[in-house]
């Protein structure tokens, strides 16, 4: 009885979470194996962007080098699997922890840097990473990269999947999709707990006013490096999953553009929000694909321009969107939705929300 009442009075966002989970769980049963593998990458992006969001959105530090951190995670997994024949599922937490350690160590010099210098140093890191990976050839196989065999789904999972879909055999891609989904759910849940409790409040406080936060007894250095470490952990797990999903890692898998793509995702989705990283993952994966498909499908666009757009289009779209969003909607898509929802509610109920007496959510600026 009480549960029913609690369910009925739950705020709409809990229903949205439920809808999202049902959508993602059901997706591979209605799409092809290839489409699931695309959505796997969306989930991976969402994981890494969640980590970036903890760093940039909540603790107010900037990193342009998360692609490099993903590389650390992916190479850890690749080397453990190909050299030491470790089970791929076991390599994921190892990759996460190792990358987290790297991030924590990066966070220590970052403490002394202003946001601008931090941006600069991490940008340099992202540019240098591919050539750093190429060097220890014995370990990383240089430019050749490392192949990762795609894992077979376990018996239990494939039987359940066949029962639900009516006999379809579960492919490796679909299995990996579910692995990523479970990991994404766990990591989002952890992030939720982190943000809603003491560490999250501390990080937001030092983001908004560092000196005041320190005066309240918040360990500024501790929380800043912790944010770096946690963020890197997410990037490492995401990188490990990325390597396993693609089945191949090479220095060119992690170019500067990847770090960009992640930042764009975080910004477009909406910094310092929870749905932001998920939307950001969807956008940063589908945007280049959708935009070039759109251009080549339009008959009025000459073929010459359309073919030029295939290569340069994503960069143009990303760049223009980044600028436009920063100027017109600094809180991203989530901010736009909130603003629209608030206006709608005002129109329907009149000003203010007297029923619950809740304050409208503060606009969160970057």
């Amino acid at each position: 009885m009480q549960t029913m009442q609690r369910l009925r009075s739950a705020p709409p966002r809990y229903w949205l979470v439920l809808v999202a989970v049902v959508f993602f769980v059901g997706l591979p049963t209605v799409t092809t194996s290839f489409q699931s593998s695309e959505w796997t990458q969306v989930l991976i992006f969402a994981i890494v962007i969640m980590g970036l969001n903890i760093l940039v959105g909540y603790s107010g530090q900037i990193s342009l080098g998360h692609g490099a951190l993903m590389a650390v995670g992916a190479y850890t997994t690749a080397i453990l699997i190909s050299r030491y024949q470790v089970n791929y599922l076991l390599t994921i937490p190892v990759a996460g922890l190792l990358t987290g350690l790297v991030g924590f160590l990066l966070g220590i010099p970052a403490l002394r840097l202003s946001a601008l210098y931090l941006a600069l140093a991490t940008f340099a890191l992202a540019v240098v990473t591919p050539s750093l990976i190429k060097r220890p050839v014995a370990l990383t196989h240089g430019v050749d990269g490392i192949l990762i065999a795609s894992p077979d789904p376990p018996r239990l999972a494939s039987d359940t999947f066949a029962a639900i879909t009516g006999g379809t055999v579960m492919t490796s891609d679909q299995w990996l999709y579910y692995v990523c989904l479970v990991i994404a759910l766990v990591l989002f849940w952890l992030a939720w707990n982190l943000i809603r409790h003491r560490p999250g409040r501390a990080m937001r406080a030092l983001r908004d006013r560092e000196v005041a936060a320190a005066a309240y007894g918040i360990n500024v250095a501790g929380y800043k490096t912790m944010a770096f470490g946690i963020s890197a952990f997410y990037a490492g797990v995401g990188g490990a999953l990325y390597g396993i999903t693609i089945g191949f890692v090479s220095p060119d898998t992690f170019p500067l553009a990847l770090s960009f793509q992640l930042l764009v995702g975080a910004v477009i989705g909406g910094l310092a929000s929870f749905a932001g990283p998920l939307l950001g993952g969807v956008f940063s994966f589908w945007l280049p694909i959708a935009s070039s498909q759109f251009v080549s499908s339009q008959p009025w666009i000459p073929a010459g321009i359309a073919s030029g757009f295939q290569k340069a289009g994503p960069a143009v779209t990303y760049g223009a969107l980044l600028i436009l969003i920063m100027i017109f909607a600094p809180n991203g898509v989530v901010g736009l939705i909130y603003a629209g929802y608030a206006r709608l509610r005002t129109r329907l109920r009149g000003a203010g929300d007297r029923e619950t007496g809740q304050m409208p959510p503060d606009p969160q600026t970057v």
Partner: protein, 291 residues
């Protein structure tokens, strides 16, 4: 020894290129406290303009000032259109906007000119001249000379003209300058134009060596960051000295210590080392923070 001198001379030549781009970064940093991540891409695009002019038959020494003028106008327009709306926004927003700008310009160049590397005509002969038993190419020496001329010109502009005084005043104390009749917001735009033109010099100087393509400046900008940070990011003189030091260090390290491919890592090491040990660089003032 001869080889060593050769390495130093070619290091100085690349140092001149880094110094120009670092100077562009410093100009914008001084104007608005922002590192412009799009500086390299702006220089690359200007180089493409020069390339177009030269291949259409314009003489190099006519195309060069024409390109600088175009870069100046381009920088001015970019400031008015893209930067102005976020002028007062937090640093993070500004950084993201300039990153967006970098991506946009890179994509636009890829769209207009493609990603095939093109050889850029050099106005200087590739012959070498003998200095103390070492061979230095005219190309390198000319790059050093052109960079030096640009740097002196910027110095004279900033220190000896009314415009330079207004620029410095607007950056130093915006409110007081506005009261004294300096159009501060406009000065920001001029600063961007100036930086864009200075950056364009580095692009044109490096293009004959690197081959022209949209990603040409991606590594150069890292060296320029290292140069600016090493010199102290608010010091024009520091940018020049930093550029030369970085150029020579990277060249020598590439030749004798780390080998090719890892030269970029040397720049990263310089950036990190300076930021950790001496964040205000060689010529900058240590910054004090008001609490």
């Amino acid at each position: 020894m001869a080889e060593f001198i050769q390495q130093v001379v070619s290091g100085l030549a690349s140092g001149g290129v880094f110094a120009s781009l670092a100077l562009a970064l410093v100009l914008i940093y001084n104007a608005m406290g922002l590192v412009n991540f799009a500086q390299g891409e702006m220089a690359m695009f200007a180089t493409f303009i020069a390339f177009t002019l030269i291949t259409r038959g314009v003489n190099f020494w006519f195309a060069f000032p024409l390109t600088l003028a175009a870069a100046f106008v381009g920088g001015l327009v970019i400031e008015r259109v893209v930067i102005r709306p976020v002028e007062r926004a937090p640093v993070l927003t500004l950084v993201i906007v300039t990153l967006g700008l970098a991506t946009l310009i890179n994509g636009a160049a890829g769209f207009l000119y493609g990603y095939v590397p093109r050889s850029f005509p050099s106005p200087f002969s590739t012959q070498t001249v003998n200095i103390l038993g070492a061979f230095a190419s005219y190309q390198d020496l000319s790059v050093i000379a052109v960079s030096a001329i640009v740097l002196v010109a910027i110095y004279l502009l900033l220190q000896r003209t009314t415009l330079g005084l207004s620029l410095r005043a607007a950056a130093f104390h915006p409110e007081a300058s506005r009261l004294l009749g300096v159009r501060v917001s406009w000065m920001l735009a001029v600063g961007w134009g100036l930086a864009s033109a200075v950056g364009a010099v580095s692009g044109i100087m490096v293009a004959p060596v690197l081959l022209l393509e949209p990603n040409m400046m991606q590594t150069i900008i890292i060296y320029a960051f290292a140069a600016a940070v090493l010199g102290g990011i608010e010091s024009p003189l520091g940018a020049v000295v930093g550029g030369l030091i970085v150029g020579v260090t990277v060249n020598l390290a590439g030749a004798y210590v780390v080998g090719g491919n890892l030269e970029l890592a040397v720049a990263l090491a310089i950036i990190v080392a300076v930021l950790v040990i001496r964040p205000h660089g060689l010529f900058g003032r240590p910054s004090a923070r008001n609490v």
